[in-house]
């Protein structure tokens, strides 16, 4: 009688106030059957990782439109490492220039989703990546 659900944390690190994309993704993933924990704006990397651990999520999704994606993502990755939680799947969305995608992946980001990404793409990627 197994009852598993994939749990996803959607968070916006830094001072970036662009919330639409994160909300669209949060609602969209809910409608795709995921349990989505939405923590809102202006979260520090420490807060994001602490929430992810308490909620025991399978996935962390960062939404960044401020241009600070490289440094913010690096901080989240460092936090995850220091908590020995690198097994959590990390994805990033927002305004990410093409040339930065490789750097993000090198840090350990599994997927990058820029403007115009469909929720179904994101949902599909998560389902495939998280062994259930």
């Amino acid at each position: 009688m197994n009852n598993k659900k994939i749990r996803v944390l959607i968070a916006k690190p830094g001072l970036d106030g662009h919330e639409r994309g994160a909300r669209i993704i949060a609602y969209g993933l809910r409608d795709a059957g995921f349990e989505v924990i939405y923590t809102g704006l202006r979260q520090s990397p420490e807060q994001i990782v602490s929430a992810a651990l308490q909620e025991d999520v399978d996935v962390i999704g960062l939404s960044i439109l401020s241009g600070a994606h490289l440094s913010l993502t690096q901080k989240v990755v460092d936090q995850l490492k220091s908590k020995k939680a690198e097994d959590i799947l990390l994805i990033v969305g927002g305004v990410i220039p093409e040339q930065d995608v490789a750097s993000l992946k090198e840090m350990g980001v599994a997927g990058v989703f820029t403007a115009g990404s469909a929720v179904s793409q994101v949902a599909g990627f998560i389902s495939e990546s998280v062994a259930c």
Binding site: N3, E35, V36, I37
Partner: protein, 322 residues
């Protein structure tokens, strides 16, 4: 990655938050061995006080839960928060956004917050929340706050597992009495009129008082009614005073506890039996067959249930005449 139950139980005993978080997941998912784990955790707890926080969406339950937790921590208590939100009946997914309003609680190391979806479980939510609060209790949290939207029967059931139930109302909802609908009134130990920074808080409090007086016909003390402004932390200290006082009174009476234990055993049995039968029917197809027959108007749900009964008797080795 999938640490064993043994390791996780050990972690919980040692105060490891990750073990706590993972054990909650496994129990919530009903992974093999969950009940054995709960058997081991049960005797470790029993000390925590459990407070249910319920009320309409937007009343300020999360904000208030945050302020209460912060105040409790400042008084030297550790706190666990369980924030329950409904699963979508269509997709099975859920949007759990209560952390958004728990700005202080998310930063305090004495507080552990867990968001839970109702998962539309068969008699399950109540038990699920009860399990998680037991795990938090075993982990050593002094007070556990369970936030649920007070709209459906499920949610009312959840707060029944609490030692103290607080109903949150707000001014300007047109009908301040709406929250006092049947079911909620019987379980409320205290009422909080939140958003008292807005106009109309006194009127709502007076309305509730009037309703309670009519209901109790003057017999016995009526539950207290407090006013708060959770975003400004106003009235929260007084509220926590009342809560801490209430810990020692009311529902901790032995007869009330016995009733709760009885309900819990029955609900555990109920979900076991249902799962067992569903499992069996999934394999035999008997249930699907019955559904089809009803759809084709060849029989009715009552007869179908009757004809399925012998299968259940057989499964449990029960003689025909009971």
């Amino acid at each position: 990655m999938q640490a064993s139950w043994e390791t996780l139980l050990d972690g919980v005993k040692k105060g490891n938050e990750r073990s706590l978080a993972r054990i909650i997941t496994l129990v919530e998912n009903r992974e093999n061995g969950w009940k054995d784990a709960m058997k081991r955790l049960y005797p470790l707890g029993g000390k925590a006080k459990i407070i249910g926080v319920t009320g309409s969406p937007g009343a300020g339950k999360s904000t208030l839960t945050n302020s209460i937790a912060r105040e409790l921590v400042s008084r030297g208590r550790t706190v666990g928060i369980i924030a329950v939100d409904p699963s979508s009946p269509f997709s099975g997914g859920a949007l759990l956004g209560d952390r958004l309003r728990m700005r202080d609680a998310v930063n305090l190391p004495e507080i552990f917050i867990r968001s839970m979806a109702t998962r539309g479980a068969l008699g399950g939510l109540c038990q699920g929340a009860r399990d998680v609060s037991r795990i938090l209790d075993a982990f050593g949290k002094d007070v556990i706050l369970i936030e649920t939207v007070g709209v459906g029967q499920d949610e009312v059931e959840v707060v029944k597992t609490a030692d103290l139930v607080m109903v949150v109302c707000v001014p300007g909802q047109g009908d301040g009495i709406q929250a006092l609908k049947a079911g909620i009134m019987e379980i409320a130990d205290l009422y909080v009129v939140n958003k008292a920074d807005r106009e109309g808080a006194h009127e709502v409090a007076a309305d509730i008082g009037g309703m309670l007086d009519i209901a109790s016909e003057g017999s016995g003390p009526r539950p207290p009614i407090l006013k708060t402004s959770a975003i400004n932390y106003q009235g929260v200290r007084e509220l926590v005073d009342v809560l801490v006082h209430g810990f020692d009174a009311g529902k901790n009476r032995a007869d009330w506890r016995a009733l709760r234990i009885k309900e819990e055993i029955l609900s555990l049995m109920e979900s076991e039996i249902l799962h067992y039968l569903q499992d069996k029917w999934d394999r035999t197809g008997d249930l699907d067959k019955a559904i089809h027959q009803i759809l084709k108007q060849q029989t009715d749900p009552y007869s179908a249930a009757d004809s399925l009964l012998p299968l259940m008797r057989e499964a449990f080795g029960i003689k025909e005449t009971t």
